[in-house]
């Protein structure tokens, strides 16, 4: 295994740092035409393509199309490209790509060509293309070297950042070639047969360090909240607490007299902004605002009541949903079955709680005709479109400087970029650069949440005890409708986010999985693990309920149901072996098996339950995953651990509730998340695979909920069917 030295120099991430901490950006112009392309004007000054620049000094700069929010794909995608280019990793720097769908759009069909970093898809989506583009860049260098050396290109090979002519012993570095490379009229064709044999990989699957790590240990990593510009002022923005309510009145004349306050702005229909010389003044002014909002029907919304309604819909089988999976005839099989199992599960609203509150910096110029924006977005071209629309300008005139994201988890993916439009509108009004930072309280109250769900499951056995029917009914609102109306419309209204990971891979002859959308009128979003977390909580808890009722070992029962897929069985066997699972054990441990978009995972959790306080502790979790070819094994381990902990936090502690249409929580004292002392030890295992890579960063934790719920049953003989597993809920179920 190759180890690479840690590079001391900081990596450029599309923003440069100068002097007094002022930051100026450089939005690279995309190469002309379809990807990948060559900038012909630059001949002699290095190779410039849409995905890579190679300078005469040997520096190789690879474009990162995906957002970097901790998942590491900024490095992973460059590793894939560098592998096929045959670059010496020590020469590689990575830059955020320009925001241009035509070149850098996510290739997965359901993103419709748009730049989207979400749902663990970056590596899976870009893997093939990054390899081909890397191979193509290598071929450009080979062709140029062949002409220069006057030898057939077929006689040339490469070593890291070096073209070699073995016959004559001549060697040319990539940098040397970049110095003279004549640019071809058209780019050479490459196909999959030009790609490396995976056995030759030097970078993929080896321990390449993440490039963003060093700057994140010394305070120099740049998030948009860190951007400072000359004459920049600050603002905060308050929104209607009830979605759809409008501004009636605000004490603006009073607040605008406060120290350092520049202006209190009404931004109809539902926002008030306060601009000030300093952020502390803007925050103080925000707290002094007295705003009245209109009363609307939604002002009656109560999440507890809504849960009862959703539950009733889930149990009302006459209301058919959108079919997500349908084989055989589950309804008929259930009605004539020897034995039927039934259970209902519920999950509540969850907040992203990304640690960097939403913020952006905008500088509207040319009398409102153009704008520069600094922001960390999961959908940067959506940001450009939305800011352009808000300012009434062309998206071409929005120059976006992409920064690191201090957590995304879906919050920075919504099309409308309400948090970026804020600074653009205030900057337009003031004619100055403006940094808008949402207070944590605003970030919570105007958050967008993982929708609550009620899920009703039924399964049937025939007289031989064989599982013959599976019926999973999900009732939830669909986050995509709000978060990305464009994609929702292009996807013909299919509830893509809420139904993620709901299909079952178990070998049951009659399956019906359906989703009923129940519009709730609240702010919603994709949140880490999207629908998978809650859907698998229900499905895999239910499987355990069946296993326990039958007296089956939950690992063995699952293995039997997965007989058609040895790869899926393999992760279960792997986790059982890691955790030294004993058949029929009653040691407070539970298991789950989950799949999503080609990722297979099996999880075992161990819990202890304090019967006096109702507190569940989870000291240990084992997880085995098959994610196809691993790109960066160490990062994979990190992503699994972190996704497990994030998911456990959601499960044990987190919920957003609504009363009178408004969010009741406001900060980390009433929306608690998992802390160090509560974090389990997480043992991970990556099952070797030669499949094309799939995803993990978003999904790694989706098996945690059911594994913990099943472990709780193992420890107590009681079922927790509603998350979060708050102590009062635990105490209540222990009393039953």
């Amino acid at each position: 295994m190759t180890e690479f030295p840690i590079k001391r120099r900081d990596f450029l991430v599309g923003v440069g740092v100068s002097g007094l901490g002022l930051v100026f950006g450089l939005d690279l112009k995309p190469a002309i035409g379809a990807s990948p392309e060559i900038d012909k004007a630059a001949t002699g000054a290095g190779v410039k393509m849409a995905w890579v620049r190679i300078a005469p000094d040997g520096a190789i700069t690879i474009m990162a199309p995906a957002a970097e929010m901790g998942q590491g794909t900024m490095t992973a995608l460059a590793v894939i490209f560098a592998e096929e280019l045959d670059a010496d990793w020590n020469n590689v720097a990575i830059e955020f790509s320009p925001s241009d769908d035509k070149i850098y759009g996510n290739p997965l069909s359901f993103f419709f060509g748009m730049m989207v970093t979400a749902a663990s898809t970056a590596v899976m989506a870009y893997y093939k293309n990054m390899r081909l583009y890397g191979a193509q860049a290598r071929r450009v260098l080979l062709d140029a070297a062949a002409t220069h050396l006057n030898v057939p290109v077929a006689e040339l090979t490469t070593e890291p950042s070096m073209v070699v002519h073995t016959k004559s012993g001549q060697r040319l570095s990539f940098g040397e070639i970049a110095g003279f490379a004549p640019m071809p009229e058209t780019l050479p064709n490459v196909s999959e047969k030009d790609l490396k044999d995976p056995g030759q990989f030097r970078l993929i699957g080896h321990e390449v360090p993440r490039v963003d790590v060093p700057a994140k240990t010394n305070g120099s990593a740049q998030y948009s909240i860190d951007v400072r510009l000359p004459d920049m002022v600050y603002a905060t923005v308050v929104r209607a607490p009830v979605l759809g309510a409008t501004l009636v009145s605000v004490n603006d004349s009073e607040v605008s007299k406060m120290r350092d306050v520049l202006k209190v702005m009404q931004l109809p229909p539902d926002r008030v902004a306060v601009a000030a010389q300093t952020y502390e003044a803007a925050l103080a002014a925000e707290r002094a605002l007295k705003i009245s909002w209109s009363k609307i029907d939604q002002s009656e919304f109560d999440s507890e009541r809504a849960m009862e309604q959703q539950s009733a819909i889930a149990r009302d089988l006459s209301k058919a949903g959108v079919q997500v999976q349908n084989t055989g005839n589950a309804v008929a099989a259930l009605s004539g079955a020897a034995k039927v199992y039934k259970a209902e599960y519920r999950t509540e609203f969850v907040y992203h709680a990304q640690l960097e509150p939403l913020n952006s910096v905008s500088w509207v110029k040319d009398g409102g005709k153009s704008v520069e924006v600094w922001a960390g977005s999961q959908t940067p071209t959506h940001l450009k479109r939305s800011v352009a629309e808000a300012l009434g300008i062309d998206p071409e005139n929005v120059m976006l400087h992409r920064t690191y994201l201090g957590g995304g988890f879906g919050r920075r993916s919504a099309m409308d970029h309400d948090w970026a439009v804020d600074s653009a509108l205030v900057s337009k009004e003031l004619g100055q650069p403006v940094k808008v930072i949402w207070s944590r309280e605003s970030d919570v109250r105007f958050g967008r949440f993982k929708p609550m769900t009620a899920q009703y499951l039924q399964a049937a056995e025939d007289s031989n005890g064989r599982l013959i029917a599976w019926h999973h009914r999900l009732v939830a609102d669909e986050a995509l409708a709000m978060t990305d109306p464009l994609r929702f419309e292009k996807g013909k209204g299919f509830p893509r986010i809420s139904t993620t990971g709901i299909k079952t891979d178990y070998d049951v002859p009659n399956i019906l999985v359906e989703a009923v959308r129940n519009k709730l009128g609240v702010r919603m979003s994709a949140v880490r693990g999207v629908g998978s977390t809650v859907n698998q909580f229900a499905a895999e808890s239910f499987v355990d309920e069946i296993a326990m009722a039958r007296g089956d070992d939950p690992v063995e029962m699952r293995l039997e149901l997965l007989q058609k897929s040895s790869a899926e069985q393999e992760v279960l066997r792997a986790v059982a072996s890691m955790a030294a699972w004993k058949k029929g054990e009653k040691a407070g441990r539970g298991v789950s098996f989950v799949t999503n978009a080609g990722t297979y995972m099996a999880t075992i959790a161990r819990v202890t339950v304090d019967h006096n306080t109702g507190v569940i502790r989870v000291p240990e979790i084992w997880i085995a995953a098959d994610v196809g070819v691993p790109i960066m094994p160490r990062n994979l381990d990190a992503q699994l651990q972190s996704a497990v902990i994030h998911s456990l936090s959601n499960l044990l502690k987190e919920r957003i509730t609504f009363k009178n249409g408004a969010v009741q929580q406001s900060n980390f004292y009433d929306y608690q998340v998992l802390r160090m002392s509560e974090a389990p030890e997480v043992h991970t295992h990556i099952v070797p695979s030669t499949r094309n890579p799939v995803g993990i960063g978003d999904l790694g934790g989706i098996g945690v909920g059911p594994a913990v719920a099943n472990a709780f049953f193992s420890a107590t003989g009681r079922r927790l069917r509603q998350s979060p597993f708050l102590p009062e809920r635990v105490l209540a179920v222990l009393k039953t």
């Binding site: 010394n218 960097e356 996704a643």
Partner: protein, 154 residues
């Protein structure tokens, strides 16, 4: 005018005495490595040292720092080579990275007091710092690693 020392430099600021130290550091002095997370001393992202003790700068009025020494992540070591920073890189702790300045400053204060911490010491000292990405297991490992490095004099 309030005078304080920040990373061994004397600084004078003309602000309301109640202004949180956080905003002085970040927006007035440009030391943006210290982060805003909650504003109410719940998340630890804004942790700095005040005369060597860890404090949440979002809830520390600048007047409390008058005449005192403030150390931020930028001043933790002259060349970014504090054992914790090296261990953090070696173990690849950060993910989104936003909380990590605060994590490192809390860990540095812990190691000052307890050079060879056990897990319980770490849990106690670090539970005021939220990492939403969930890097806790790596933070724990990196603190142990840094303690080893310091002991070895590396």
């Amino acid at each position: 005018m309030i005078s304080l020392t920040v990373n061994k430099r004397s600084v004078k600021v003309d602000v309301e005495p109640s202004t949180p130290l956080l905003w002085i550091l970040r927006e007035h002095l440009g030391l943006t490595g210290t982060k805003y997370g909650c504003g109410v001393a719940q998340c630890g992202a804004c942790t700095v040292h005040l005369d060597g003790r860890p404090v949440r700068s979002c809830s520390t009025p600048v007047s409390r720092a008058a005449g005192k020494e403030v150390t931020t992540i930028e001043g933790l070591s002259p060349d970014r080579s504090h054992p914790l920073q090296r261990a953090w890189i070696e173990i690849e702790v950060p993910q989104c990275g936003y909380c990590q300045s605060g994590q490192i400053m809390s860990a540095a204060a812990l190691l000052e007091k307890t050079p060879n911490p056990v897990d319980d010491d770490i849990n106690r000292a670090m539970s005021g710092n939220i990492c939403r990405c969930g890097t806790y297991p790596r933070i724990r490992r990196a603190i142990h690693r840094a303690a080893e490095m310091s002991k070895a004099g590396a």
